[in-house]
């Protein structure tokens, strides 16, 4: 479990993370979403103690990261797939990390095989593609068989087969009862993997919700009704929580009633309908709505520079 508690991080007078609070629970995949520059990477660095929060506290499995006797067993992280010495082989990179914790060579071989790197394990990392680097980073994250796995943009640079591999791997890790966190700036990709979503923008929490409820929320756009009798139907549908908006000569947008209720009322009064469509917003659009302000702020800042 990861607990981020009212964490603020300032660099000079720039606030990168602002009073952020969320919890990533065991047994589920938490998607950590936000536009580029929202503070995701900074938050992840604070979780493993690379950066110190200006105020607030981050706990991994109930303790500060540095206080654990075997940090690699508590949480495995992939922060930067390129953060490996290019002159060292993949196997030696993993072995050097393993030795700090007395992890046996056998486990190194296991994660190499798990990540599908057996053939290239002896090659220098400098010759690796981005996708192979991601696989090495994931292998390193799994080295200590950790209870929490946290990956920053893990599918970045992977081919479709690799993306599927990561998706299945993360689902399996969560099913084993581990806490899984992955960050992304892509809603569509994340919604396929994640059970829970934490969305941030400008360092602030924008949403802490399940994928299902975000979908439901996104679907709250009303129902489009096509009928020749717009005026009559409008009167019949009217009610305290119902809004009816004309959208064209033979079209209405109705919110407050679902398609089934509208269809029933129309049928009861013999009114013909030729369209009855729930207005869904895609997850990507919902995400964009949620983060629009944050993105605009970032852009205008960049323009001002």
């Amino acid at each position: 479990m990861i607990q981020v508690k009212e964490v603020t991080k300032r660099y000079g007078d720039k606030t990168v993370v602002d009073q952020l609070t969320f919890t990533a629970h065991p047994g589920q995949v938490t998607g950590f979403l936000g536009p580029n520059g929202a503070g995701k990477s900074t938050t992840m660095r604070m979780i493993v103690g690379l950066d110190t929060p200006t105020t607030g506290e981050v706990l991994v499995n109930g303790r500060r990261y540095a206080e654990h006797a075997a940090p690699l067993q508590e949480i495995g992280v992939l922060l930067d797939a390129k953060g490996v010495h290019p002159g060292r082989s993949a196997a030696n990179h993993l072995l050097a990390m393993a030795r700090t914790h007395g992890i046996p060579k056998k486990r190194v071989d296991e994660v190499i095989e798990l990540a599908g790197l057996t053939k290239v394990a002896g090659k220098r990392v400098g010759n690796f593609s981005l996708g192979m680097g991601q696989r090495l980073g994931i292998a390193a994250a799994l080295l200590g068989d950790p209870g929490v796995v946290m990956l920053d943009e893990p599918v970045n640079g992977l081919d479709p087969e690799g993306v599927l591999w990561v998706r299945n791997l993360l689902a399996r890790l969560a099913a084993e009862g581990r806490t899984v966190v992955l960050s992304s700036h892509l809603m569509s990709e994340t919604s396929l993997i994640a059970d829970h979503l934490v969305v941030i923008g400008r360092g602030k929490l924008l949403a802490d919700t399940s994928v299902a409820s975000l979908v439901a929320q996104a679907a709250g756009g009303g129902v489009k009704v096509g009928t020749p009798a717009t005026t009559l139907l409008g009167v019949l549908l009217a009610g305290p929580d119902v809004t009816v908006t004309p959208a064209g000569p033979e079209e209405l947008i109705v919110s407050g009633l679902d398609a089934r209720q509208i269809g029933q009322i129309a049928a009861d009064h013999g009114i013909p309908l030729f369209a009855l469509t729930p207005q869904t917003v895609s997850l990507e659009e919902a995400f964009m709505d949620l983060t629009r302000e944050a993105v605009e702020y970032t852009s205008s800042l960049e323009l001002a520079r």
Partner: protein
């Protein structure tokens, strides 16, 4: 898997694995040893009694350049992790951070000390038959000879530790190497430009001059005694290590 834990021995083993699995480590170490042996042999061949140098100081002619090479070895071990981004993986595995600095210092210093002592002895023994007949023959058993040769190893070992400390402090390979070269090679020349009496009183305390005192069989008037010199140089290294440790503890990676 349940017995896994982070330990100082583990950190040392991990750092040794990193150190020994890079080609640059062996190239730099090899070049340092080669400089000591090759320049020692050349000096033994061309040197004569007129220079006022003895057999040991001729054999150790290469140590000035070798100091730069072992310093680079230390810098690559520490600052190299910042330039590649490896440092984040390192400090994720060892969040206390300081054990990494100590392990790197121990490994760079220990390796440089061992290899450079051997190189100094080889340069001395292989150079002896080439010496000008006007020079007094010296053997390993003569007073101060072994101290001077092992002292060369000790000085170069400490320079490697200085490289590690500078690299951790400045977090940039280029900046650290430039600083090291400036302090060891350029600073003594600059001090010579000071007015005579001031230069004379400052010069013995410069890092390279203080550290080199241990390498002379017959210390000259213008330098510190061998052990005092080594102590002064060790002091510089300890202060730099302390500054590196402070920055490691206090600032974000």
């Amino acid at each position: 898997m349940t017995t896994m834990s982070l330990s100082r021995r583990g950190v040392l083993a991990g750092e040794w694995t990193k150190f020994s699995t890079l080609r640059s480590t062996w190239v730099t170490t090899g070049v340092s040893a080669l400089l000591v042996v090759a320049l020692g042999l050349i000096a033994a061949t061309v040197g004569d009694s007129a220079t006022g140098m003895d057999a040991v100081s001729l054999a150790l002619s290469g140590t000035t350049l070798a100091a730069l090479a072992v310093g680079v070895l230390g810098v690559l071990l520490s600052a190299g992790e910042y330039s590649t981004g490896m440092i984040r993986a390192t400090f994720t595995a060892v969040p206390a951070r300081l054990p990494v600095l100590w392990a790197k210092a121990l490994i760079a210093g220990g390796t440089a000390f061992a290899v450079m002592t051997i190189a100094a002895v080889v340069a001395f023994l292989a150079g002896n038959p080439l010496l000008d007949s006007g020079l007094t023959a010296l053997g390993l058993g003569d007073a101060g000879v072994l101290r001077a040769l092992a002292g060369a190893g000790a000085y170069l070992g400490l320079v490697a530790v200085l490289g590690v400390a500078l690299g951790m402090l400045l977090r940039s390979s280029a900046g650290s190497i430039a600083t090291l070269a400036g302090v060891l090679l350029i600073l003594p020349g600059l001090v010579m430009l000071l007015p005579g009496s001031l230069a004379e009183s400052v010069s013995p305390y410069l890092p390279s001059n203080a550290g080199s005192a241990i390498m002379s069989v017959n210390p000259s008037d213008g330098s510190l005694s061998p052990w005092a010199g080594l102590a002064v140089f060790t002091g510089y290294v300890v202060v730099t290590l302390g500054a590196a440790a402070y920055r490691l503890r206090k600032s974000d990676v």
